[in-house]
Amino acid sequence: MFENISLAFQSVKSHKLRSFLTMLGIIIGIASIITIVSTIKGTNEQIKQSLIGAGNNAVRIRLCQDNYEYDFSWNPLPEGIIPISEETRQELAKIEHVSDVSLYYVRNYAENVYYGDQSFNGFLYGIDQRYFPTSGYGLRAGRLFTEEDYRTCRKVCILDRAAWSTLYAGSDPVGTTIEMRGESFTVVGIVDLNSSFEAKIETVSDYYNFMDTSGGIIFLPSTTWPILFLFDEPQHVALKADSPDDMTAIGQKASKLLSETQISSSTETGFSYKGEDLMERAEQLQQLSNASNTQLLWIAGISLLVGGIGVMNIMLVTVTERTQEIGLKKALGARKNRILRQFLTEAGVLTGLGGLLGVIAGIGLAKLISTVLETPTSISIPAILIAVVFSMLIGIVFGLLPAVKASRLDPIVALRRE
């Protein structure tokens, strides 16, 4: 085997130009496949990142009525919905690929919230201590909520960057007081999402995806929530996924579990828990871009086929040219299979080398495209391995006919040909 490979390399080397031209079909085919796959992967990652917010991997489960988020701002406490217990929270944390679970209350339209003469029109979140790490927030100024804050129901609050900039226009908020529904809350800190993520707003749907958080969020300790709102209000859930790919599955599992445990079955009010289906939307968008790229892949596949036929052609020529060599080897005692293997290896080495060059060319091309068009590309290692192995397979498949022809040569006929 090893001898065959080194022999094959020698024969590729002894016909450099011919070998290169033979490989060209494979090189072009593999290069275009690598380029397309890299571009698809890059685009997909961009879609995922722009929808989810890079790296935060937070899945949110919301209480919905008839598929719309149940809004406590205008509706009474829903009947038959039990607040989520610590046990249930731990149940949720046991779901595969979930690293943390946080419970929180939400008011989507904060009314009667003021700082000085500024009215706040963002969100109010009543959060537990796990919320910030789960959702990917980090402290930017001041401090986070302490055990003491929760235990003694201190009226303290934390602003996110958007709330801070709309209410304070850049001045230091820590220590100042915000009035919420007639109660005074002291600002203790500012948080921000860890990954600096600038949403790219290009379409109307992008706008709706990203702009709904534009008013900012004021966070309160969950224990102070009843001071402003209601006791026993059902919470929303934020789960941290290990990777963006797990988010859809986690959302489905968690919402199923919550719908089963938290909603009493006797009520027929159309309540359910639903995972935010950002991943689903991302996948829909990806499918769209994949569909058009799959066609490109087919075309690239055809060029590989053409390349394979080129390899077959040149191998047939090689066999004819080397009848004497084959005849001699047979005379010296080489069995049929050995000749077969020699030519198969040669075809495999030829196309494998072509595949390797194709991968290099493909990566180069992908990088070039991403620089020129400013689109992201992402090199896929499995795609590269598959490409090289696949091109070797092409060589072996298309080399089979010439190799069989070589192995069947009659040594007398082969030696007679001068």
Binding site: Q10, L328, K330, L332, G333, A334, P411, I412, L415
Partner: protein
Amino acid sequence: MLIEMKDICRDFPQGNDVIHILKNISLSVEKGDYLAIMGPSGSGKTTLMNIIGCLDTPTSGHYLLDGEEVRGSGDNHLADIRNAKIGFVFQSFYLLPGLTVLDNVCLPLLYANVPKAERRERAAAALERIGLADRMDFYPNQISGGQSQRVAIARAMINDPLLLLADEPTGALDSASGKQVLSLFDGLNENGTTIVLITDNQSVASRARGTKYILDGEFVEKGVLEA
């Protein structure tokens, strides 16, 4: 008895006809013998050599090589017989141009599945014996015709074959190189190697201990050929 041929016929179909290239050839060669087979072109001597060398099988008749019936063997078995028992020397050397002299000599050992280190060692020793040790890393196009044929002989002998089969070994050489090759044959024969040599050159044939004459597929007396 190394070679025992009895009533060997070889027919080739040509169109609707059948050409009888060999007609009832019978031949015995003792171990250690040195036999020349002479005949003009078209006499069937190359076909006979192919059959003796197990490159071809007879249409009918019996051929026992080293006591083993050859007719009816499969391709792979014939390849193994050639590899183990027969060494070939051709008129035009047939050294592979892409391989070094050493690697060319190694080839039969490769097909006998001898490990690489041992192959190289044995091939180097064989080249040493024919005085070409300093050429082992050369490529065939870098050495002379006489040297090429000596390399081919080293290759033929590397597996210690029972039979050395030479087809016009001096046909492509100048007379000095030809003499060198023939004296190499003499030496091999003295050491016990059986040699069958096919030629149309009387002076080459005269080096052998016996000569058979072939014409139109049959052995004939010497006088018939000259007539």
